[in-house]
């Protein structure tokens, strides 16, 4: 049922342009990777702190506030590069298990990050409590899954 949609994705002008260009896919992927680095940093600064590690002298709320533009910006960058990457090989993605693992975990990670983690970071007392630790750990586990599944798309 979804397959016609994925076929249409691959037939879009953008999808075909990326697929037919020698340079487009590698450059898009490289920028996607840069986004991954910034996202990793923005997440880790807060998640490490929630786990009672890293910048422990700093209030969680301040770190979360400071990291937020970089969290948002890197996500936007990854989406902006991820969509054309996907369009260029939508059918291959459709039949790829890792792609589905990534795409199903991604909304969970996003929801968790912005609905749960942000609230906890704002409220969390300066000494990490059990809630903070669990939230930090879940955040890292979710985003690690997204990243690992994303990398594994290329291997399957």
């Amino acid at each position: 049922m979804l397959e016609p949609f994925f076929r249409w994705c691959e037939s879009t002008a953008l999808g075909r342009a990326v697929a037919e260009s020698v340079w487009a896919f590698p450059i898009l992927e490289a920028v996607h990777l840069i986004g991954l680095c910034v996202l990793g940093g923005a997440l880790l600064v807060v998640d490490l702190r929630l786990l009672g590690l890293g910048l422990t002298s700093q209030p969680v709320a301040r770190l979360a506030r400071n990291a937020r533009p970089w969290l948002l910006g890197s996500l936007v960058l990854m989406a902006a590069t991820g969509v054309p990457l996907f369009l260029s090989e939508a059918i291959r993605a459709y039949y790829n298990t890792s792609f589905w693992v990534k795409m199903c975990t991604l909304p969970v990670a996003l929801t968790f990050t912005f609905l749960v983690r942000e609230r906890v970071a704002r409220r969390e007392a300066d000494a990490p409590g059990a809630t903070g630790r669990i939230v930090g750990a879940v955040s890292l586990a979710l985003w690690f899954t997204v990243a690992a599944a994303g990398r594994w798309i290329g291997f399957s």
Binding site: C37, G41, A42, L43, L48, L53, G54, N66, A148, R151
Partner: protein, 188 residues
Amino acid sequence: MIERFLGWLGETSWSVALLESLYVWPLVESTHVLTLGLFVGTTVMMDLRLTGIAFRRVPVTAFTGRLLPWTRFGFAIMTATGLLLFYSQPLRYYHNIFFRAKVVVLILAGANAAIFHAGAHRSAGDWDEDAKPPRAARIAGAVSLAAWAVVVIAGRLIAYNWFDCDLQPQPAWVNRLAGCGVGAAGAE
């Protein structure tokens, strides 16, 4: 001479096994790529502080004291996985212009870090809480950001065989930069 050593290295049984492995090589490479989030990620956050762009009310020594150990841990993993990847195909990487560029910029990034830690960082106590660190620190941060971006991009492009020595004819400049052992017949 280097070529002979690398050629021998690439024919050792472990090198061959690694390259031909079903899961080990992909896992090593995936670890290398995912650890970028830890290594380059924490580096970027610290560089954002050093350039005065972000985290302005966090003392610089908080980053260099408490986050840097994580960066170093990430670097250790990057190095270990990177060496393994190189070992799986030494000659191919040796002759890959993107790999060569990556190594050169890696050395520059390292030098930049060393200069910062031996220089501006020594007086960090004086400017620790300044939203805008002194110029030397800001330059170090900016150079670091640029260098690591180049390393990541060059690293990603290694996989592409556009300038491989065995895909002659290549332009003369490619053969020179990649150290391809071709005579005039192979060059354009």
